[in-house]
Symmetry: C5
Subunit: 155 residues, 5 copies
């Protein structure tokens, strides 16, 4: 029985964690889910570290929604460095699902994007855990999570 | 008996540490508080590390007030990276409560902001320590510490 | 028998991993290849860490294609820091083969560049593994992977 | 008997290390001083690490004077990250005393600033080592090392 | 018998490693030299780590020549962070000798600069290894490697 961790924040303006959980449950079995919510994205690295070390998670989806200001971008950068560091300390994947508030032009689109990106990374999570060869089949395909795939370059 | 660490600086222009201590004492019990003050925010990471390793703190609130200049922003960035690193080394949460001097237009508002952000993170601290499920109930709610909550996105 | 790891992404818009594999097989023997594909470049550091620790790779070629936006540049920066950290933890080389989408003016040239850079780093990989003295013979020669060599400075 | 380390550089244009040593000796006893000088600020982190590990220092004052160019700012940033990392590895404080060449308008003022900042951090060093409660009494007081204190915010 | 490591790149457009080796041999004895060449500056950190761990080097001179583009500056930044990290892991000095291509106005001057900076850091290397007190005698003297010394500030 694999354990998938979900780490998210109260800062985010959409409940991306629930989107991820819903997508996971709709598309797989043989795992259980443990969720941990923290105030902001800079709290995510240690939340993930604890999910790995204290809850025995095998993989984690870490979700956050940085604001539009320069300080928010910097927080996202610091969180990302910490999430990569956590993965190296634990030898396990954390799928970082960050949706920047300024990626969409209105709130409706932002909701759509946050939900979709969370769901597409939930599928990546299942592939990493159960069918890694599926990812290799898609190497270099220009896949994107959320918005439309960029696709393979053409001559 | 849990131990909550308070790490703050002589550089800050408002005693945010005392706001946090007051809020903690007004809203919980079953813990004791240990305080450590250092000159500036770049001294906070090791101060927190020592609070964890030498004083057995279970969680820490780290408070600082970076100045408005580019060099101050860079110091805050370096301190944040160090605080995240500290958490990963110790597997414990540090709530970073930084109030940038240029976040408010006048000193009166800055005092209000610093006091309020410290108090709201003190409540987060108690939730992380005693009622983590309360945070999960607020996942994606667009909560902010200090200024008004951004709230959940609306269709 | 040496083991060469290939780590690449589904985000990339060209299958650089296959170029590297082809070049390796055309130019050497005495090794086997293990490939691991992840969604994006920020997933590469732990993918490499696992290739070293769980698959006993002796060296890795990590390939990615960051997009043209500032956030993409930042992701590449974070990935690079993580890849360097991974190497220091494992005492083994990872050849980072990043091709930025805005390095070429059209898709045709970008394909050419991605293929060529992957192949030239595959040769570097073989040299590091089997003929490190060849690299010392080329010290200071202004070699470039992909575009034309800059060459040695001239009086 | 406590041991205070002094780490400084040949790059700096003022002998801040001697200012710190003089201030330490004028204001305290019960300690000895060990000095280590390196070429530039990026050499300071490992110099401090060696002072902790090989010379048993209890605390270190690290002094440097970054130049005015962007590359100098970046070196200072890298050095700061390394100094924070060193502290976390050793669980001991390093007081970073950096004076940027462009902080003062003329050489005379820069000398004054470098001397004064080094001396004020020497006093912080003694407080951290022997009277940490003195720092807590000054929490939130808006203290500055070198230039005039900013002071506590006022309603 | 001390062991000095030389780590350099095929990317550099001048053979700075040979300048360093020549200067070392002309100015000292009681050491042997081990050289390791890698493709680019981001490969230097692990190359140095291996020189320390596998070849027992006591100190390393790491030489590189970043190009003039923003991406080159970023690579240099990442390499520097990695080199500092390596030193902290091994408790030994690495003298970083980077010459940026845009530091000189023509190729002739760039050759002069690269050669001279490599040689002056070779002398620093010998001092760190055999006469560290010589560096302390020069603390705060405003020394520069390559271009003219800035000198001590004057009243």
């Amino acid at each position: 029985m694999k354990i998938i961790g979900i780490a998210d924040t109260t800062f985010a303006r959409f409940d991306m964690g629930s989107s991820a959980v819903d997508e996971l449950k709709s598309n797989g079995k043989g795992f259980k889910i443990i969720r941990s919510t923290v105030p902001g994205i800079k709290d995510l690295p240690v939340a993930c570290k604890k999910l790995f070390d204290e809850k025995n998670c095998d993989i984690i989806i870490a979700l956050g929604m940085p604001g539009p200001k320069p300080i928010d971008k910097q927080c996202a950068h610091e969180a990302s460095i910490g999430l990569i560091h956590t993965q190296l300390m634990c030898n396990k994947h954390i799928l970082e699902v960050f949706v920047h508030e300024d990626e969409a032009e209105d709130e409706r689109t932002l909701i759509w994007l946050a939900d979709r990106r969370a769901r597409e990374h939930a599928l990546n999570c299942l592939d990493l855990l159960f069918k890694p060869e599926k990812l290799t089949n898609n190497a270099g395909k220009g896949l994107r999570e959320g918005f439309r795939d960029a696709g393979t370059l053409r001559m």
